[in-house]
Symmetry: D2
Subunit: 350 residues, 4 copies
């Protein structure tokens, strides 16, 4: 089979690899649609260290090609989505409910980091009974593929925000995850949804996904505007979908006493992330800071796909570009440089 | 009446003041017992800005002296405890359940910051129906006075920690609040309670209040030891009862993926409190950071006093010194310098 | 002023009464719009015992006419909505967060049961600072009036249901509260919303408010259909918006293991409500049963009105009839007999 | 191997059976200590239908005898406890967190109901990685065996009760599960723990396990006494550890508005369990009813054993009798008739 392989830092190529073979609890899926994630670009640049000869990718759907001897409830040929995070669902952390922290912190993230990823014609799925999610007839492969990371991650940001019905929420950073955080915040009943970015087309998409107000931080001071919109209190919750010191800091500043700072982003640099002391109520303002790593598992995936099927959200509006798998390197380049207004490129395996 | 007045920075004296008069929803209490808090020392040094002619103090109990015309359910002469935090219980933040953030962030803290405190022979209580808590016959004034801040604050730290039954919790800083966090962690069912400090007598008291293990950080690396005690995972929760960069940072490091960093302390310095990036799981380790400000209100006070009455906890073991009100300045000096092994001095108004 | 007075069982009349006078913490509101509730009909028939000379009504909005001396933050002339439930926000139950159970069980319900109601030209509001909710300019009196009971009650049913994002919820009984439970379930992110009733026009309205599927129980077995729609598991939650043995029982049967039965209705008859043993998992199926009484308070009312203002929900689609206050007895008759397809009649005070 | 076999209704015998063989994810344990549960007696009488040739028992600990090919993290010879409930941890219900409802309602209960039980010299453990819990050196087999059902079940009753720190809880029925509910309620920080039964020796044991007050319902009206003890409000939570109409009904009556009725018992008879309407607040008193089935899994078992190891609770005080496995039928008889003050008999396999 063909697979996108990271041979070393800044060095990727499509290479021939053997089709994986499932162990007793595993499955192998033939890929139909995959997506490039900005974190793939980070990985190539060394975000996970100097990986060698590792297949990349963690967002893919396809058709069951082979099943392990102990796997029940599935059959070859079924359409399935597999979350970027594939926990064992057995270990202590999984039993505690923190499946993304499987065995160790961040340990649920296995594609690319612990084993080959799924930007390949076939891919291996550990603990298949819990990690294979059937795709309903009414949901396209492309739409389903968004549940493997963008929707699950962005929506979890909104779930962690715990905004009361009719309350207010702000999302900083209108990349695909931030846009899904907007959609999730709206779906969960917020009465005032605010999007902050500096790219007009992304802010427009934020309105499509449910933002009541958009703030272009190059034109307005977002904190002053959020305070104005919330009667001087701040929002019930603020979500950082970027993972940067300025956006994190703005989340603390934008949140009211007793509110939630729901971090969604990956912090890739520096020794520390800094909490502004005064706006954090000198450590006594009852502002809660939460974090997440894309939650996986077939049960959640099923609910996310139901939301698509029922017309609650259409994630395919995030798709800006389509490529064949043979064009994958071009897609990676564009995702790295964010050229041509790219938000999310879909990779088709025919 | 006589009252301890802050005339300006570093300038306090016992002065004569008029006995307060209650408005329709207020009460006035004749003080029997009060306590000096380390934060009184911070206040004198300018922690709340340059207060002038303000009565200090926020930990006191006494006897109802006068009641406002609209106050129901109480009568003059009853023994009552009044929490350091006296919310209105009416405003939006109070209705949201964040009574310590009454009206504005930290706004429930009214003694000293918004009006005269209660280190005086009489003191004023706003919103008396919710803020007067009857002291049961079986609870001494001294014991009851601990519910006004030390117990309520320390226990809330343990409540925020949300340690599962039989789980593990660490408290950094064995001052009186940290010791009460130890007691609260034990009371709430943790199976492994760890206390960290560097003063042997305080660590001994931590054992009395329920610590299974004590770590003297001058003798051992607390993080290495906590990791060893928790099978390499870290604790379910870590509490910072000091409010300093090193202890906060240790809380993040000491906590397992999915755990809780429950801040209890007041951060008095600097622009930022810094979260160590890697141990925070690069923003994805599902470690939650919570904060608090001593929760008030008669309902909670009643439960805290029941715990004393039922023998679950004896906070008076925190008392190291007794003074008459006329000796208050000496008590303040000792609390500032932490001399003679002082933990908590009790001030008696006879 | 004119007021609708219950003189005794089955005996109501519009009579002249003195305009109420506020105590220090109270307000008096001049009514602009009110609504008849089915529970008013129950009251007339003796549901609250044999009330004599009591003004009826608990759903009304208006303009501040007078304010008590201790009330801050409001001024005469402001448009306000007042919830059917007007807690004191001071007592032990209120401090515990159960404001509808103010002082005693159901004690937050004061209009009609503990004092005169508000189907009158003016009405009295206790604890005004917490119970007066400003109506935004963009919200009509009629729409705001729905937040005083129908929306607050129905939405709370959906909140108690705690359906996970994309999960499934069923509501039995498409009266106005049940329809608002449908709207709330949809607003809170359910992926499958099912409405059960036997009146086609109400089921049609259920679709308008967000039901994906409607079941006419005269044409289909609702339990069999719900099981079919949920893959044989049952729904994540079922809400009883009627308060009858058959609907309650169906809620238990319609709910999956680990699900929630969220009761919204008032049970007016019999010594017992019966839980079907087998479908309740012989007491071990982890099905949780919750109940509620319309939550009040200005903070919640503000959030409900924001949902109207932001276009999330338009409760006025529940309005089937309009009457002048002088026609109130006709409105009551129609509400009692449910004639002419009446769902909710609006009473206008000009 | 020898095993206690139910040949049919009211017909049990110790018979020779083959030692089980593990599948890839399973383990086989050599039993060292087991316990008879009252539900074994119910099973023999037909509680699970007319089982034929089924090995009984669900409370046992032992030593790993064999491991499946895919099981990691364990080795033959280790001392292990296995909960009565052995979920797959893979299915939709398990992923939702309702592991005791594995696949279907009550489906986590596999011993006896879905496969042979463990009152035998060896027993089979499905999904071994999640269901084998290592017994620490400081915990005896006898003590560990209590975590397999009595402690996990009783403590979960107390966890579901969600009593606030210093609040009040009542447990009805001082069998071994009820006594563990008392211990759990105390461990979780209640300030007033009330035990209700009619057997003086059991009430005495309740005091040992942490009850502040015991009520012999043959001597006192328990509801009147609970009301007196709680200032007329009722308790924050009431637990039914028996599973009978009178105790369930008393739980509803004993609970304050906004409180929790935490059912722990198994309801074996009748079509309905009845909720008393008035004391349930006519369906609006915000009293929540929860249920449970003994939660399993190695993570929880580890925490329960830590509580034993740390001296928080000594479950072996429940042991009233010891038997060799060859005397198992005598133990069953005594458990059925509850003769000789039996609470819990321990069965030793030497």
């Amino acid at each position: 089979m063909k697979a996108l392989v990271m041979r070393g830092l800044h060095d990727v190529a499509v290479l021939e690899r053997p089709i994986p073979v499932p162990g007793p609890n595993d499955a192998v899926v033939r890929t139909t649609v995959a997506m490039v994630c900005t974190s793939d670009c980070h990985t190539i640049e060394g975000g996970l260290g100097e990986l060698k000869d590792r297949v990349l990718g963690h967002e893919a759907v396809g058709v069951i090609h082979a099943l392990g001897s102990a796997v029940e409830g599935f059959r070859v040929g079924q359409r399935v989505a597999v979350n970027a995070i594939t926990p064992c669902f057995k270990c202590e952390n999984c039993q505690r409910g923190f499946t993304s922290q499987c065995k160790v912190m961040l340990g649920g993230y296995k594609f690319t980091t612990q084993k080959d990823g799924n930007m390949a014609e076939y891919f291996h799925v550990n603990d298949a009974e819990s990690n294979l999610a059937l795709i309903p007839d009414g949901v396209s492969d492309e739409a389903a593929c968004y549940t493997t990371d963008m929707m699950s991650t962005g929506f979890k940001g909104a779930e962690n925000a715990r905004i009361p019905l009719g309350g207010s929420g702000v999302v900083f950073g209108m990349g695909p995850v931030g846009l899904m955080a907007i959609a999730g915040t709206r779906l969960l009943g917020a009465g005032l949804v605010i999007a902050v970015d500096c790219v007009p087309s992304r802010l427009e998409l934020a309105r499509y996904y449910g933002a009541d107000v958009t703030i272009n931080f190059k034109e307005q001071d977002p904190i002053a505007e959020i305070m104005r919109l919330t009667g001087g209190h701040g929002a019930d919750a603020a979500m950082d979908a970027l993972g940067s010191q300025p956006t994190f800091e703005n989340c603390v500043k934008a949140t009211r006493a007793g509110g939630v700072i729901s971090n969604i982003g990956y912090f890739g640099h520096g020794d520390y992330i800094k909490i502004p002391r005064l706006e954090w109520g000198v450590g006594m303002g009852e502002k809660t800071i939460t974090t997440l790593l894309c939650p996986g598992g077939s049960e959640r995936m099923g609910r996310l796909m139901r939301l698509i099927e029922a017309g609650r959200v259409d994630p395919t509006r995030l798709t800006t570009h389509h490529f064949k798998f043979s064009e994958i390197e071009k897609a990676l380049d564009m995702m790295t440089t964010k050229s041509d207004g790219i938000i999310k490129p879909v990779i088709h395996f025919d």
